[in-house]
């Protein structure tokens, strides 16, 4: 019961922080935005430049950061619980590298210029295909270790293909376009990207809804969980698809954004008593918060142009990951 109170308090604080950060994020950028004036304009008779910035750029950018971050945090918690491994990331089943490969293919062959949705659709297709490959290789009845190894192999292969395309790129401009996309950024998103992001995200989240219970049971081991009524093959299928959809959509729109899915569940796990079902929603909220903060950070950094947000999350995430490994090694011994 005390745990339930603590859980509510955690979610309330995260929720409060999200609202404040989101509002701040609307006002910050290359052009400072007086929020009240922009709102007045938006609801008033004549649309001004402030309302345009707000509704066409800042709101979509903030919402995309919120949704993509939430998907990454949520799916990180899902994968770690499903694989019973604290070092699992949402990209492990191939969704992230698959999305990258799909998006790069559309850039490389110039489909991206044909119509607005080509690049994210390519990314989605790549994510689904890569996840399906991992699933067929190991997901149906293979153990956790087989699954992780298959994920590593598929990821490596997808990234090798990305490198091949970079290698063969016809012009330095194409190389630059691909490389910059890979860095992960929210700088050039608009309402279109928001519409592209939404369906897969919502579908993915719905698939995860109410799967906390079987994830709790998995804590006790796969055999015990299945003896306690968890339908593991079904659970795996469902969660693989969910992660492919949610993370695939996020990566397709933002480019590669590392470490949020890995780090956020870790930070929050001790605060929810290590219980997988209680970790899911806080992780989504934490992911949303972290990506919004990182995206605000890159807008505030006093450098020429803008540092890509994916670079920032990895810059912070990688040392944390290292600390995590060392910390875990210490505890196991």
């Amino acid at each position: 019961m005390i745990a339930a109170v603590r859980q509510h308090r955690l979610m309330l604080s995260l929720g409060g922080a999200i609202v404040i950060t989101a509002l701040l994020s609307l006002t910050i950028g290359s052009q400072p935005l007086p929020l009240m004036q922009a709102l007045q304009e938006s609801f008033g008779e004549k649309a001004g430049v402030y309302s345009l910035i707000l509704t066409e750029l800042r709101i979509p950018r903030t919402l995309i950061a919120l949704l993509a971050g939430a998907s990454l945090g949520l799916c990180g918690a899902v994968m770690q619980s499903l694989l019973r491994n604290p070092l699992a990331s949402p990209g492990l089943v191939g969704s992230a590298s698959g999305a990258a490969l799909g998006a790069v293919i559309t850039l490389y062959f110039g489909f991206a210029g044909l119509f607005a949705y080509a690049l994210p659709l390519g990314g989605m297709a790549g994510a689904l295909l890569a996840t399906l490959t991992v699933y067929l290789l190991a997901g149906r009845d293979g153990g956790t270790l087989t699954l992780i190894l298959a994920g590593v192999a598929v990821n490596a292969f997808a990234l090798a293909l990305v490198s091949l395309l970079l290698n063969l790129a016809p012009s330095p401009y194409a190389v630059q376009e691909i490389a910059l996309w890979m860095l992960g950024s929210l700088a050039n998103v608009s309402r279109n990207e928001l519409w592209i992001l939404l369906p897969g995200t919502i579908l993915g989240w719905l698939l995860i809804w109410r799967q906390g219970r079987p994830l709790d049971l998995l804590t006790l081991g796969e055999e015990t969980a299945s003896s306690m009524g968890a339908d593991l093959p079904n659970l795996r299928r469902r969660l693989f698809l969910a992660v492919a959809l949610a993370v695939g959509s996020a990566i397709s729109v933002t480019g590669a954004i590392g470490f949020i899915g890995l780090v956020v569940p870790h930070l929050l796990r001790p605060l929810v008593g290590y219980q997988p079902s209680r970790l899911l929603i806080p992780s989504a909220m934490g992911g949303a918060l972290l990506l919004m903060l990182a995206d605000m950070g890159v807008r505030l950094l006093p450098v020429q142009g803008e540092i890509k947000v994916g670079v920032v999350t990895s810059l912070i995430g990688a040392p944390f990951f290292l600390w995590l490994i060392l910390h875990h090694r210490g505890r196991d011994v």
Partner: protein, 262 residues
């Protein structure tokens, strides 16, 4: 009618047969001991009964009905399985882990209610874990962990409890406690199948023994009937020690629990 009934259960891994045409039956209120040397197929049989693995051949019925026709959760409410080794993935508290045992009784949107709470409290007391409720599982000793996992299985209040060597990590006093708890589960009208290596514990506590050897049933029946010289020599390659030319009764136990209410 028997509660659980397995007929001609067989399983092979590759070319190697692990179980060969094993029959088994379990009555309500009965405690059945599965004994046999390492690799005899005891754990495999238990996992088949738990629904964790499927046999290659044979049929399994619960109350005369094919087990495979039962939905996962309905089966989990009636049959609980306590595996030999259980690695807990996250350092959750003892209380939360025991609570998980009520999951088969809960709908996906339900959380643990007052009635569940009462059962959890009672079992926590019976398993001597009240003092450990808030401790993280991974900070407990092996014996304490084994009791937490038993408590998790007991709070399910299953008709059939399948326990794979539940006492192997325990000191003698806690071994007797666990066996008494299993026995108590039977006295409440439920049934237990327990895999044991300690033959005197098996003889003392179980209503009936089934001796497996190389994947087949070598003997089955009362302790006196099963634990005879020929069976022990065939299955375990051991001989009974004789005192003054007489074999000790297999049911005589060298120790009993002190200072513990029965």
């Amino acid at each position: 009618m028997s509660l659980l009934n397995g007929r001609a259960l067989s399983l092979s891994r590759g070319q190697r047969p692990i179980l060969k045409d094993v029959d088994m039956t379990l009555q309500p209120g009965e405690m059945l001991g599965l004994i046999g040397p390492n690799g005899a197929g005891k754990s495999t049989l238990l996992r088949i009964l738990a629904g964790v693995i499927e046999p290659d051949a044979g049929e399994l019925t619960l109350d005369g009905q094919g087990v495979e026709s039962l939905p996962h959760q309905a089966r989990a409410r009636r049959i609980a399985y306590l595996p030999q080794l259980s690695e807990i993935a996250w350092p959750m508290s003892v209380e939360r882990i025991i609570e998980l045992g009520r999951t088969p009784h809960l709908e996906p949107w339900q959380s643990v209610g007052d009635e569940d709470r009462e059962i959890i409290d009672r079992v926590t007391r019976q398993t001597d874990l009240l003092a450990f409720r808030d401790r993280a599982f991974n900070t407990l000793s092996g014996g304490e962990q084994a009791r937490v996992l038993l408590a998790r299985a007991l709070v399910t209040e299953p008709d059939i409890l399948l326990a794979d060597e539940p006492v192997s990590a325990l000191d003698p006093a806690h071994q007797l406690d666990v066996m008494n708890l299993l026995r108590q589960h039977c006295e409440n009208g439920h049934s237990v199948i327990v895999v044991l290596h300690d033959l005197s514990l098996a003889a003392h506590y179980c209503h009936r023994l089934q001796l497996l050897h190389q994947g087949s049933t070598l003997a089955e029946g009362s302790a006196e009937a099963v634990l005879n010289e020929k069976n022990l020599a065939d299955a375990y390659d051991i001989a009974l020690t004789k005192t003054n030319g007489k074999v000790l009764k297999p049911t005589s136990l060298p120790w009993r629990r002190l200072h513990k209410d029965d």
